[in-house]
């Protein structure tokens, strides 16, 4: 134990360490938007921090569109995903899932399955993970986990081939005592609806968000309200000159990552190794170590490549735990990957929403009151709150929000790219547009009035002068033809979340090779490349030459990738480690170069003598002089330099749509996307993510819809065919403009972009463009031809000629 060590050396080390942590210096950092508001601010930072990084234009690798570090592996198919991991003697596992939406299981007979050829192990699930849990578990007596949705895993089989596992799974006999169920959230809200839980229940959030606060009241299936009141909203509405009052509904969307959830678990007596398709190697290890009461040192989680998560892939979950149990039982590695149907049903979704939103404003646009009463279903989980945009996008005098989760017999929701925000922004940003109309104000001018964020102000100026916005006819329904054109915009907002469980190690080898190690995983956003760029910048070596070793809990801890935390969390640790390693490197080569370490600097890939003792030497040549084969430095994420500063990210999406008023088809022609991404480490990768947010937003807005049969409670479109996702023809011209923003918060000053861009704002931008085109509001998602035609039929006769 540390307290027992009292040697003078140890005491000195401790003192030095704590002094280093508390010793600070004052630096001047760039703050603002280059070309608009760039200035400087002072920050007090730990002395261990590297020198302030200049803005991107003055750097060699950071801020440049460097090719994706693992582009070769991905383009050639060599990238090995969890679904591709094949270990010697590996078994294939398959779940048996509930075919009914609500039941207590009377009996499970696995005997026939166990006798099937190739079967090596069968497991009946003892605990279902991922849904809400009763506050008082004694309210429910059941031998097996109660089935709360169709598709809930009940048991699993491991066999020598996937076919054998499938055949055996079909032989497991489950006898259900079915219970009344409800899958319609409106019915679920009524007093005499079937109860999903016999008492109050809560779902924990994940590293990606979701879940609900504890202690929320629950009445029947309605878990809520979660209330927030700031000032007297009733008075705020009395003070208003104009009130917009509208009702919005949004659907349930499933994550539908192309790689399904799954793991390969290899249980050995001294080590459980799990290859997982996850956004958090750390969270998977934590859950498995906790579940099996193993020391963390005996659980290793590896995520070399992962095929998309979007918020749904944190923790081991049912596949992770069950595969580990089957591996322990059979003594063989076990691969358990979900199939597409299971992916839709049981591992997460974006909750629906039903929002009554009222906004009161003065004639000049000042908001006197915002009131949002929302209901939404996260299935048998919670997390349907959607008040983020209403509470945080604009300045208000008074605020009143009430969020309610409605339990239904469906799979639990999970965090999904900007939880709650696409729903909330769809309502808020349409109502703000409507308010602008009522006030006869330009939508950008109104936002200038109610949003003081200096970055958003810059972005609005960019939009205001853009061709797409200038082409907008302020008068709605100005086109006389059958196909009407419209332009609309919406803002987005996200927050600076950080995960301080972030560290990296940088190693310098005597041959000049460099490596960086961290448990952080690359979920497709390109953190491998970003880390390579950071090390490259420090040593003046091309990023492709850096060995990036991540996605393994054997390395220094890495953040779970959720809530846009990854780059902002890990990149400063990486830069600190790279800088500290470079200092150790200089100390290591100093004797060989016949110089003092304090006389040496490393810049632009050259070791230089400040006193001019020798001509600059290439880094690689100097490395040969190292006095050991390797030096390394590990650094953890230091706190943000000015943590009191309230920082939000956001941007504006401006959409041009064509509305065919006869077919009800909305075609998005063009999206101009202006987004705050802090200091973009790799603009090419950031642009890719924004493209993706825009396209996923279009898909959510126009097509996607989880459909549950109201009479039997089963999902009827659990595939990628009738669950409709935007494809190549649905992709508009997308112009992305990155707003480079310096905030003076860390040694890289990087931010995240996954949540803020596209997915939040595209829905409302399309809806506002639709209104601009037709003069009709659509307050319902998805905007399918059926919904569009119904909306157009309502207020006016569009179809007189047919």
């Amino acid at each position: 134990m540390a307290t027992e060590i009292t040697t003078p050396v140890f005491a000195a080390l401790q003192q030095a360490a704590s002094a280093a942590e508390t010793a600070t210096r004052t630096v001047t950092m760039p703050v603002g938007v280059p070309g608009f508001t760039l200035g400087e601010e002072e920050r007090t930072v730990p002395v261990t921090e590297p020198p302030v990084l200049p803005i991107n234009k003055d750097l060699e690798f950071i801020g440049k569109p460097i090719e994706r570090w693992d582009g070769y592996a991905k383009a050639t198919g060599r990238a090995r995903y969890t679904a591709d991991v094949a270990l010697p003697g590996m078994l294939y596992a398959r779940f048996v899932n509930s075919s009914v939406p609500h039941a207590k299981i009377a009996s499970i007979d696995t005997s026939e399955a166990e006798r099937m050829p190739g079967v090596k192990g069968v497991h009946v699930i003892e605990t279902f993970l991922g849904g809400a849990e009763l506050r008082d578990p004694s309210l429910e007596q059941s031998k097996y986990p109660v089935v709360r949705f169709a598709g809930q895993p009940i048991a699993a089989v491991a066999a020598t081939t996937p076919q054998a596992a499938e055949d055996a799974a079909a032989k497991i006999k489950v006898v259900y005592n079915t219970l009344p169920f409800v899958v319609d959230e409106n019915i679920a809200r009524s007093a005499n609806a079937p109860q999903v839980f016999p008492g109050a229940a809560d779902q924990a959030g994940t590293a990606g968000g979701g879940g609900s606060r504890a202690g929320i009241p629950q009445t029947g299936n309605v878990h809520g309200p979660s209330v927030r009141k700031e000032g007297d909203a009733a008075q705020g509405f009395k003070d208003a000159d104009v009130i917009v009052d509208a009702h919005y509904t949004t659907q349930v969307q499933t994550h539908s990552a192309l790689e399904t959830h799954g793991v390969v678990a290899d249980w050995k007596p001294d080590l459980l190794t799990v290859y997982a398709s996850t956004q958090g190697t750390a969270s998977v290890r934590e859950e498995l170590a906790g579940y099996f009461k193993l020391p963390m040192s005996q659980v290793r989680v590896i995520t070399e490549y992962m095929g998309g998560g979007f918020g749904a892939k944190f923790g081991a979950g049912n596949p992770g735990v069950v595969a580990a149990i089957l591996s322990r039982k059979t003594g063989a590695p076990v691969r358990l990957m979900l199939d597409r149907e299971e992916e839709h049903l049981s591992v997460g979704n974006r909750p629906s929403s039903d929002q009554r939103l009222r906004i009161g404003a003065k004639k000049d646009g000042t908001i006197t009151a915002i009131q949002l009463i929302s209901y939404g279903t996260a299935g048998c989980g919670t997390g349907a709150g959607c008040s983020g945009p209403a509470a945080n996008l604009y300045k208000w005098a008074t605020l009143h929000t009430e969020e309610n989760d409605v339990f239904i017999n469906a799979g639990p929701a999970a965090a999904f790219r900007a939880p709650g925000h696409p729903q909330g922004a769809f309502a808020l940003e349409q109502s703000i547009d409507e308010l602008a109309g009522k006030l006869e104000m330009d939508p950008l001018d109104l936002r200038d009035r109610i949003d003081e964020n200096p970055v958003r102000r810059v972005q609005r100026q960019v939009i205001r002068t853009s061709e797409i916005w200038k082409s907008r006819n302020p008068k709605p329904n100005a086109d006389s033809g059958i196909v009407k054109r419209g332009v609309g915009l919406s803002q987005s907002i996200w927050y600076r979340h950080l995960n301080y469980n972030s560290a990296a190690e940088v190693r310098v080898h005597k041959d000049g090779s460099l490596e960086i190690l961290s448990a952080v995983q690359d979920i497709g956003s390109g953190i491998k490349t970003a880390l390579a760029q950071i090390v490259a910048e420090q040593f003046g070596v091309p990023p492709a030459k850096i060995s990036v070793k991540i996605g393994d809990t054997n390395y220094p801890p890495g953040p779970n990738s959720g809530g846009s935390v990854t780059t902002a969390s890990i990149s400063p640790a990486a830069r600190d480690a790279a800088w500290q390693a470079s200092q150790k490197f200089l100390a290591s080569v100093a004797p060989g170069l016949g110089a003092k370490a304090s006389d040496l600097t490393l810049s632009g890939g050259m070791v230089r003598s400040a006193s001019g003792k020798f001509q600059p030497i290439a880094f690689r040549t100097a490395a040969a002089k190292m006095d050991t084969d390797q030096v390394s430095a590990q650094a953890k994420r230091v706190r943000d330099y000015d943590p009191k500063k309230y920082i939000t990210y956001g941007g504006i999406d401006c959409a041009e749509v064509l509305v065919d008023t006869e077919t009800g088809r909305i075609r998005v022609k063009h999206v101009f996307s202006v987004h705050d991404c802090g200091r973009p480490i790799n603009p090419a990768q950031v642009t890719s993510q924004i493209n993706g947010g825009v396209i996923q937003g279009i898909s959510y807005t126009l097509f996607e819809h989880r459909l549950l049969d109201p009479n039997y409670g089963l999902m009827v479109n659990a595939d990628l065919d009738k669950y409709k996702i935007a494809g190549s023809f649905e992709v508009p011209k997308i112009d992305v403009q990155l707003t480079e923003v310096y905030i003076g918060q860390s040694s890289t000053d990087a931010s995240g972009i996954g949540e803020a861009a596209g997915i939040i704002s595209v829905g409302a931008a399309i809806a506002n463009a639709f209104y601009n085109a037709t003069g009709v509001r659509i307050r319902q998602l998805p905007m399918t031809p059926g919904v569009v035609l119904a909306a157009l039929n309502q207020p006016q006769q569009m179809m007189e000629s047919i």
Binding site: E662, L702, L714, V716, G727, S728, F729
Partner: protein, 336 residues
Amino acid sequence: MNSFALADCSTVEAALSQLKDGAVVKAGGVDLLDRMKNGTDTPRRLVNIRNIRELRGIHATPDGLTIGPLTTLAEIAEDRGVRADYTVLADACGAAATPHIRNMATIGGNLLQELQCWYFRSADFECIRKGKEVCFAFSGLNQYHAIMDYGTCPSVAPSSSAVAVLALGGSVELTSAAKGKRTVAIQDFYVKPDANPHRFHVMADDELLTAIHIPKPAAGTRSAYQKYGEKESHDWAIADAGIVLEMDGNTCRRAVVAMGAASPVVRRSKEAEEALAGKPITQDTARAAGKASMTGAMPLSMNAYKVQLFPVAIYRTILLAAGQMERDPSATAVAS
């Protein structure tokens, strides 16, 4: 997917000899494998006709076209002759599914594609089509279902090529070992659910679809097909139209208006055809035909929008066939 034995046949004769004891024919396999993976179909024996060379190819004859049932949708969509003289068929094949599926899926398989109703496609629902009494769509989710002529089952005709074959007055050749060949007009090939809910076509278990015949269009014929979905990339039709116009100058001598996604069996609209016959093709006559096509429509609880959509699909496709309108950007792009 269940385990099965596969009899891989290289001649029609060989295949016919295998059609017994519940064996199921597999051509491209696209639709059958889907259903087997879903667990709705569990055949113990497949008769693989995929490698029967004589069933492939597009052959021009003095009377029209004979198309081997194993010809892929892509081959038909790309065929110059078909595109020029049988445009409606090339369009329908080129608008189906995805490029990759069109490369595998055969026209025979497309004509014999099972219903796409999600209840029918799920092993969890035992519906009237599977020998039970109940239809789940009437009281359930039916936004993509039929609006006309549905009787006991409102699942819509899934085959886009069938719409074109119907529009062109085509027929299919059926062959059995016992009875030899017979030819059935496409309108007599499909069976309405009221007549027999368990089998949507007239083929017997021992028969094989061995050819598709398309008569040569009369001089002055123009044709087109358009499919409307909720999206353009890979979607099912929510409305579609196969149009054949026999023109004298700008006067329409005879018109065929065929639809797929309106009813369980591909249908022609007599009312729409009469609205065009003997008239010039104009915006007005095309729209009048579209409107007439919905005579007798009885939408379900969730699909009234299709009654509005079909007339649009029809009038625009009439104008496209007549060369008076570009291909509709709201409709599915057609590969060529």
